[in-house]
Symmetry: C3
Subunit: 674 residues, 3 copies
């Protein structure tokens, strides 16, 4: 396990640098990420380069036994470049240009900007190609931040047309594939197709999905340019990109294919405020939601089936969410452990020292503005020492037997047609994911095209677009003994975001053994309940979306219990196909219903699982160790089936505390309030 | 009574058409509406017409004994036309162009678009002029949908100036009529007047009202073009337009003058979500609000004093409201009966089959996406059979003795100056309308310029702009024995949206026998109460708006009872003028106060009325029958004064159920919970 | 004490004017303000002037023994001018032009508009230079209304660059001062700097602060042009401007430097609805919040340390807030007394008569639309008579021993980086100000650069930007025996809105005797409590912002008591420096905590103070009299230490009532519910 930090030497006097670097080394940090916004410093005027400062910083880092991770500085094209070539700027759908003055203002499809990118990346890469202290490179910074993936400029219009021409032989084929006769939306040529701009009513869902795919592909292509230049300069470097939490416009699987290492930036107390439908609880404001960040850890681990890095770990209070509470006592330590349990090989804190200038002055660092240690510093040192004890350097990856199927196409299609303001694909995924996690079970978050054979159980809520090929692969998986738990809104669309002319779940109907008779959404004040057919005195809450199922071969598991129109109708069914089992759940389940669905499947697969964990406590097993992490302000006692040998902490969990034991304690473990 | 359906043959394979049409005929449907968005299919390239598919569809419909209702396809100008003439597109006040990619993107004042309209309408009309299976035509589709009546493009600017020149002799006259010396808003020529664009503060209310009138008139003129071309082609056709629920920018009275038949599109569970201030109740999410749709039924019946059609009846779940719940059991049947009771001659369901493509995939049809019958199908067949039993073909129209005065000028003026965020003219109207409907009384919804003599009682809340002529007509009406119940904000403005230099209600002061001393609005948490002068232990709730009255000849009826500044002041007064009675109510009444005002006037007019009905139950009387419709999930027993002979159902109303009896049972009827 | 009224003769027939003016005189009014929006009437076409009407109105006013206050009519450039020179219009950040059609549509930096201003102002000034009935002039009207201070047009871009060149010697100096190396935001020339337009992420805080300063300075410069022209025409005239309540973009101190008299426009029931974070209470909807308007009275009195005018006093219901309730009985009288107690020398009501035309028809006047007396009329006459009894003409100014430090730079900096949606600098100020006011203590609201020596106590919450010079001045003030109560977010930034490289409160750390260890914001549902170290069974509520203090020399006063991470940490400390005392409060205090902090400092300074007053009751002492004003609907008894001699009212306060006694009764006075 390794730790690192993000550092901006260009913000500080040179005479300070050695002190800083020495203190980093003392703190046990091994990597120093630098230069992701430095274009203006590296090239203050066109072709006037100033690399000496970065040379010196890298040297110092090497001197103190650490390694530099450098970045291509393309996230912030300097003003002189924007003034020379304003056409590189992004445009909103209504034509408003996104100007210089913050960051990420360039368009991914600007030919000019790609040339400029090639020029600066080549320059940086060549400069450090032989430098022994540079371990690898990060491309750009947080693609997609501030909703910058989808641009609507002329370059994008042209690129979209080319992308479509590449995909469709003729415009007639496109018109048919999308269903453009609806509302007279036919195009007579590819040239007639624009990015989706302002219109009186909503856009055609097929056009929107294709624009989403195109925009994501533009980033893939743009990132590949960086990767190629960096790899050309030094094939030994690892090349990574720092993704973000639940960024909705960029296919992380596709970008990752070109990377050696996947990393992401984890800000737990920010994410619960701005990418979660329910209001953050006080505990979440102190430490975040472990399933929310856990699902991202698992996503980024699963992209390459390889340990990942947290390239930016929240170090304390941060500036960008609505509120900026201080994290709970020990939260920064907790996050480092939690990330490790989910497969992180390194945790790098953002940033070394609170910045005196610009937009991020209210963002903490490991050090305060005066250079003295901040809360995160102490947590980071402690976590580093503790994790070092578990393994020096990379440790064995997480081995998961359960996979959650995550499809960006589904995300994009459902975002265009949510049909309930609170319908959020990520949160529906989390409802199923959380059921496994609340039983201490590790989960891979994979694309449906990934190999399925190694998994005992697949969780597949809202597997919205299903091709015949995918249906075949899923059927084969089940026939060979696999288990799938489907969720609502599965099998609705074809690959062009058109409805299938068969009843939902379309090509999965035989596998599921049932079809969907009706669907409907409803506001939270109309929460529905379901009851198991066997024990109809038990009620389980469900929300937002209700499908009435029509079982064919499948067996009835749950019916609607809430009064009114759904009462008594099938809500969950189970089917046996070959050696495997398929459960289809037509509602968005509350936590208890999700548990009632997942637990029996875990048992059927003979997978070890714990007692149901409290909301804020999660277990992770990796590399012969078990982590128990407490994201709540409650005290708990850990009751394991076997005697635990504690490497970190012990069987008492304080607020925001962590304990690590040798071996895998998951089976039957329970967490009890103290 | 007749039923029909909307069908899009162009979305389906030709080999399917005959099956579809056969099934329609089997279902008892008599009309098939088609082609309202078909321009792109009818004319895929300029002057390359493709009518064969529609010819064939019309023939099939005729073969199976049904009639086609065709549409002018102008709501969706195809992309090739937009590309040729982008100047036909609408513009937002800030100049943002509303592009192709959904529907209704054209400007009503585009000369070019009027030419194109003439070209395509003439073509379509001539094609079917001799066709025996075409019963009539619908012009365009839902004028005003997606807030498209008011456009701000250069064509509109020019047309607005012409419209003003037509109305005012000189610019000086306009300046005086509007009061433009206020804030130096004088114009020195008509050319200096623009559509109301972005300004630092709010716009001049006179300018806003005139722009609203002009924009509505533009639609009238545009629609007239369609009507003339269609009538020219075949004078036997009926020409209709499908209005919508509470569309705020289009004067339905004015458009209707050119039509033979008025129709509208009724989506009860959508309307309660997006055009009602209070959050929809669970029952409303299942079946809608009977007074909300009832008031629209009555409006569209009253425009031509003639039975109307529901051209699009909600068939099940729909895609466009925030939530898309399944309607209650039998709701589609309920709506057909309710529409009939309010004067519908035909109910056509939208649409035949759930569409696989484009924006409306989440909109149900009578048939599911696979062609099998959906919930609406069964309801439609049942309603069709039941209604057929009451009368084959057109039946006698509703005969109402009460009229609600509805004035689009008031709507536009009050929308510009609501002076309370929750002040909604429609909902204030509904407060008075609902009081009559909750007593089983039929109501016409008429323009103040309509003949008044046939009515026993006029309801006139917020009759905001009152000319001297209108004041004279209302006075004459009362003198001859009529009754008027005025509501707050009556008699405030002159016809140019200027305040009158007399106390409110201005020219109605003598009629009312009182003036308004003060007015004020307040938030819902400050709800006021009033008490009858006779029985001051009774309290009635009032909301949003309070006027303090100053009775002259009038008698005091209610005073404010809530503590504080209004306490004891006059809130409602009554005046006797000639043989008639005038009540002026200075507050927005809650349901019980509204009943206390309306009931005595019904009694005074010797009109039969029922006991006060539950919120969700409404009665309609028409053509020798009485409908009792239950929009709630409660069970009720119907207790009539005389023995009922039930044509549909019986005296027990299930949830969302309907019963129809022979004769008029309204007098004294009561509804009791079971 | 004097009263006046705003009058628009141009809105009424000439034959009415003498009646109006006679009635004004009868009502005891002494000043009549006119012509602030009259450009279109004064100059209907370019160079065609029409002054006769205004001449006549001024003459009439003089005839009836009153004085006219005229206005430069620049707030509403007429349409012909806009059509000639559309470049004078304001632009939004995205380039949208703010068109003619309301008011304040001109850009302060338009050279053309400055020329036009000079032309019209010179004309008006010369016309009345010799007129004996014109007492003075108001410049323009409510600079900044409708967010019009910050414009983003090309003229503003050029002016901003000039302003920066004036301030910074070189672009390198600017880059360093702002910290532009952050995110590559360096400029290579002044020409490269634009107004802050649309960007993907938030703007650089230094750039935003400088733009805010520049925009405010533009108004200062523009106003100075008026002042110079008016003074040149007649040096005897007073020149004033009518500021507004809590206008956030204009430095009132800077504008006032050029004025002879400061005036402002007070709309108590509007302000509580649109510039207060908490929902207005029913009492506030009836009479406003006395501390909200009191703080503005005190600000405008303190700008020139001179009595001020209320140029526009709310006369009844007003049109622009969300709701328009009728003010409480006597509220208009109450406001006149309250203003006088705070240092007003004149109260002028807006307006004489409800206007029949344009945007303000729903704005009451002293007279109704028909000319009859309205509620405000009776209140105004009564207040005028009562105040006349206290002093005819100007009376002695308020003498305050407590000052609140108010800094527009802090306002602008904190608005750009609030870091909590409910963080509002004005309201934080009000929390401290209100503590003094709830003890009957008068407060000056001064800029930190003002002389401090006369004050016994300074209140300084969020004194955000602190230069070394200011730190020195504050230290000297304390050393010489002064007292300062600092609030949270003090001493955070340097003058360029950069963080200081020392711990907060930076250069004030020695004075405070403590530094800030951590800070955090939190939502209202996580309200924190603090407890005095001496009596830890008492708890006081605090909100929004929490700093953990690290006392050095300072003594601990309060610690956090709420459970969780802050528990037990220092929240308030006190330090002794020289002969003085400094208290630093790290939280946003609730009313009781604020009282616990302020009261001991008042006692220490031997300032007289009352018992803690109810929320709605406030006391003012001025010119040998004591005003007790009741902004609530409760009845109260006034219990004074000494026998009171009542000039107005007596010791019983009715709802919205006022009492005035001779002498200063503040010491120990208490208010008891009846
Ligand atoms: Mg694996
Ligand atoms: Mg009739
Ligand atoms: Mg003073
Ligand atoms: Zn682009
Ligand atoms: Zn237009
Ligand atoms: Zn400007």
């Amino acid at each position: 396990m390794q730790t690192g930090v993000c550092y901006f030497p260009e913000h500080w006097p040179r005479e300070r640098w050695e002190t800083d670097v020495e203190q980093m080394a003392e703190a046990g940090l091994e990597y120093v990420r630098m230069a992701e916004f430095s274009w203006g410093v590296l090239e203050p005027e066109r072709d006037e380069f100033a690399f000496e400062w970065l040379d010196e910083a890298v040297s110092l880092i090497g001197e103190y036994g650490m390694q530099a991770v450098l970045c291509t500085p393309t996230a912030t094209p300097p003003k002189w470049l924007v003034d020379e070539h304003p056409e590189i700027l992004q445009e909103d759908p209504d034509g408003t240009v996104r100007e210089h003055g913050s960051r990420r203002h360039y368009c991914f499809n600007s030919e000019r900007y790609r040339e400029e990118t090639e020029r600066i990346v080549r320059r940086v890469a060549e400069r450090y190609a032989e430098n022994p202290h540079v371990a690898g490179f990060q491309t750009d910074n947080e693609y997609g931040c501030h909703f910058t993936v989808r641009c609507y400029c002329d370059d994008c219009a042209a690129a979209f047309r080319s992308w479509l021409k590449e995909k469709y032989d003729t415009i007639a084929e496109l018109n048919t594939a999308w269903g453009n006769r609806f509302w007279s939306q036919q195009y007579d040529s590819f040239e007639a197709i624009d990015p989706p701009g302002p219109t009186p009513a909503e856009h055609h869902p097929s056009r929107l999905l294709e624009y989403a795919r195109f925009a994501s592909d533009s980033v893939v292509e743009y990132n590949r340019l960086h990767v190629e230049l960096l790899t050309e300069a030094n094939p030994e470097w690892f090349v990574t990109h720092n993704f973000m939490g639940r960024f909705p416009t960029l296919d992380a699987y596709a970008v990752s294919e070109d990377l050696d290492l996947v990393s992401w930036d984890s800000y737990p107390t920010g994410f619960v405020q701005d990418r979660q439908h329910d209001e953050a609880t006080p505990d979440q404001l102190r430490a975040g939601n472990p399933d929310q960040i856990g699902m991202d850890h698992d996503l980024y681990r699963s992209t390459l089936d390889r340990p990942f890095w947290v390239m930016e770990q929240q170090p304390g209070d941060v500036n960008w969410p609505p509120h900026c509470p201080q994290p709970g006592e020990g939260a920064m330590r907790l996050w480092a452990h939690h990330a490790t349990a989910h497969g992180a090989d390194a945790v790098c804190y953002f940033r070394w020292r609170r910045c005196l200038e610009g937009q991020e002055q209210y963002h903490a660092g490991l050090r305060k503005q005066d250079g003295s240690p901040d809360r995160g510093y102490h947590d980071a040192v402690r976590a580093g020492t503790e994790l070092q004890a578990i393994g020096d350097g990379p440790i064995e990856n997480v081995d998961a037997s359960v996979a959650l199927l995550f499809d960006y196409d589904a995300l994009w299609a459902l975002s265009a047609q949510p049909h309930a303001p609170e319908f959020d694909y990520w949160e529906l995924l989390e409802a199923f994911y959380g059921a496994a996690r609340s039983r201490g079970v590790q989960v891979d978050v994979i694309h449906p095209s990934f190999a399925l054979d190694d998994y005992e159980l697949l969780l597949a809520p809202a597997l919205h677009l299903v091709t015949d090929d995918l249906a075949k692969r899923l059927t084969a998986y089940v026939e060979e003994g696999g288990r799938i738990l489907f969720g609502p809104r599965t099998g609705v669309k074809d690959e062009y975001n058109k409805l299938r002319p068969t009843l939902q779940p379309g090509p999965l109907s035989d596998l599921v053994g049932a079809t969907v008779d009706q669907h409907g959404s409803f506001p939270s004040r109309m929460e529905r309940t379901v009851t198991p057919v066997a024990e109809d005195d038990e009620q389980y809450a469900a929300r937002t979306w209700a499908e009435w199922l029509d079982p064919d071969d499948a067996e009835l598991r749950f019916t609607y219990q809430s009064e009114g129109i759904e009462f008594g109708r099938p809500a969950v069914v189970e089917n046996t196909v070959g050696d495997g089992t398929v459960v289809y759940c037509g509602v968005w389940p509350g936590p208890d219903l999700a548990d009632e669905l997942v637990r029996p499947l875990l048992a059927d697969a003979s997978l070890p699982y714990s007692e149901q964990l409290p909301q804020g406590v999660r277990i992770g097993a990796r590399a012969g160790h078990t982590w128990i992490t407490n994201f709540s302000s409650e005290r708990y006692r850990i009751v394991a089936r076997t005697d635990a040998s504690w490497v970190v902490g012990d069987d008492t969990l304080e607020a925001f505390d962590v304990a690590v034991a040798e071996g895998n304690l998951v089976d039957g473990l329970s967490i009890e309030p103290v």
